[in-house]
C-alpha cells in the first residue's frame, strides 16, 4: 500500500538538483504531491510530499546515488498528503527595513495575537554587506479581520521597519 512521506533535502546549491532528485523518485515509482523548492543563501532546499509504495529505507535507497553525487542531506517523515481543501489567504503582509534581530518574531507574534494564520512566509536578506536589508512577505488568513492585523503591526513602524498590510480580494469567476 502506498504511503505519503515528507522528504526534506538540503545541500549546497548547484545546477541539476531538482532534475536529479525528481528523476530518481519517478524511476522508483513515486508520485509527487505539493512541493516547495527554493534557494536559501547558497543552499538549495527541497520539501516535498511524496507518495510511495516503498518504506523509508526504500526511499533512501532510491535516492542514495543522487545524495552522494550532490552532497545532499535527506530527512524522511511519514506525512499526510491526501488532497484537502486549501485555505484561501485574505491578507498579505510586506515588511522591510534595515536588517536587525527580531523582525520576524515581532511581526509574527503581533500578527498571531491579532488572529493571523500564516499560510506562506518568505524572507530575504538584500542590500549591501555593510547595510543589509531584510524583506519579509507573508500571506495568510486573518481570522479576526485585516484591520486587526494592521493595527497590531502599525507600532512596528516606529522601530524603523516599513510595514504594509493589504487585503487579498480573491475574484472567483
Amino acid at each position: 500500500m502506498a504511503n505519503w512521506y515528507m522528504l526534506t533535502l538540503v545541500g549546497r546549491d548547484r545546477p541539476g538538483i531538482v532534475a536529479r532528485v525528481t528523476s530518481a523518485l519517478f524511476e522508483a515509482g513515486c508520485n509527487l504531491g505539493e512541493t516547495s523548492m527554493i534557494r536559501l543563501g547558497d543552499n538549495f532546499t527541497v520539501m516535498m510530499l511524496v507518495r510511495s509504495e516503498a518504506d523509508e529505507s526504500g526511499l533512501r535507497a532510491a535516492l542514495a546515488p543522487v545524495l552522494e553525487d550532490l552532497a545532499l542531506v535527506l530527512h524522511v517523515d511519514p506525512a499526510s498528503g491526501e488532497r484537502h481543501p486549501r485555505p484561501v489567504p485574505d491578507v498579505r503582509i510586506l515588511v522591510h527595513g534595515a536588517d536587525r534581530t527580531g523582525i520576524v518574531s515581532q511581526v509574527t507574534a503581533r500578527a498571531a495575537d491579532a488572529g493571523l494564520n500564516i499560510l506562506d512566509l518568505e524572507s530575504d536578506v538584500g542590500g549591501s554587506d555593510e547595510e543589509p536589508i531584510y524583506i519579509l512577505q507573508i500571506e495568510g488568513v486573518a481570522t479576526r479581520g485585516v484591520e486587526a492585523i494592521e493595527s497590531a503591526l502599525a507600532p512596528l513602524q516606529a522601530d524603523g521597519v516599513k510595514v504594509d498590510v493589504q487585503p487579498i480580494d480573491t475574484m472567483i469567476g
Binding site: 488532497r83 481543501p85 486549501r86 484561501v88 489567504p89 498579505r92 510586506l94 506562506d120 518568505e122 512577505q137 500571506e139 502599525a154 513602524q157 510595514v163 504594509d164 498590510v165 493589504q166 487579498i168 480580494d169 480573491t170 475574484m171 472567483i172 469567476g173
Partner: protein, 166 residues
C-alpha cells in the same frame, strides 16, 4: 430552476472559442436564466461565462454589487461583449468555478471600456475599473477558451499595489 454542471479543468471543452449569439429569442432567455441559477448555486462566484456550463455562445454574467467598497454597474447580463479600451495594469488574486481549490495571481487591465448587448439585444457601454473590470476580463477569457491558469504570475512577485501607512 435546474442548474447546469460546471465544466472543470482539464476538460478540453473549456478551450473552445465560443460563437457570437445570433438571435435574441426565447431560447436565449431560458438559457440565460439557467446560467444565472448555476452561478448562484456555486461557491460565491461573482461571474460566470456560458462555456463553463457547456454552452458555447458569447454570453456572461457579472455581478460585483454585493461587495463592500467596490465600484459596480450592478447585475450585468452581457451578450457578445467586447473590450475596446484598456488602461493600466494591476495584480490581483483569482479563482474559478472551473478550477476548484486553487487561486493565483493574475495581471489584468486596471480600467476597461466594455461594449456589449443586453439579453434583449440592446447595446450597452461601460467604463469599468478594479474588481469589476477584473471579473469582466476573467469571464471574457472563458469565451475565448482561456483560463486564469494561462495568465498566472508567480506568487513570489511583489507587484501588488502598495497601500501604505500614512
Amino acid at each position: 430552476m435546474s442548474v447546469l454542471d460546471i465544466l472543470v479543468y482539464p476538460d478540453e471543452r473549456l478551450r473552445q472559442v465560443s460563437a457570437p449569439v445570433q438571435a435574441f429569442d426565447g431560447a436565449l432567455q431560458e438559457k440565460i436564466d439557467v446560467l444565472e441559477a448555476t452561478r448562484l448555486a456555486g461557491p460565491g462566484a461573482v461571474g460566470i461565462a456560458a462555456p463553463q456550463t457547456g454552452w458555447f455562445e458569447r454570453v456572461m454574467i457579472v455581478d460585483v454589487s454585493g461587495r463592500k467598497k467596490t465600484a459596480s454597474h450592478g447585475h450585468l447580463i452581457l451578450v457578445n461583449p467586447e473590450i475596446t479600451e484598456w488602461e493600466g495594469w494591476v495584480m490581483g488574486r483569482e479563482g474559478c468555478l472551473s478550477v476548484p481549490d486553487y487561486t493565483g495571481n493574475v495581471l489584468r487591465a486596471e480600467k476597461i471600456h466594455l461594449e456589449a448587448f443586453d439579453r434583449d439585444g440592446n447595446p450597452l457601454s461601460f467604463d469599468m475599473e478594479g474588481f469589476e473590470a477584473r471579473a469582466i476580463q476573467h469571464e471574457l477569457d472563458h469565451l475565448d477558451g482561456l483560463l486564469f491558469l494561462d495568465r498566472l504570475v508567480s506568487r513570489r512577485q511583489d507587484l501588488f499595489r502598495r497601500k501604505n501607512y500614512k
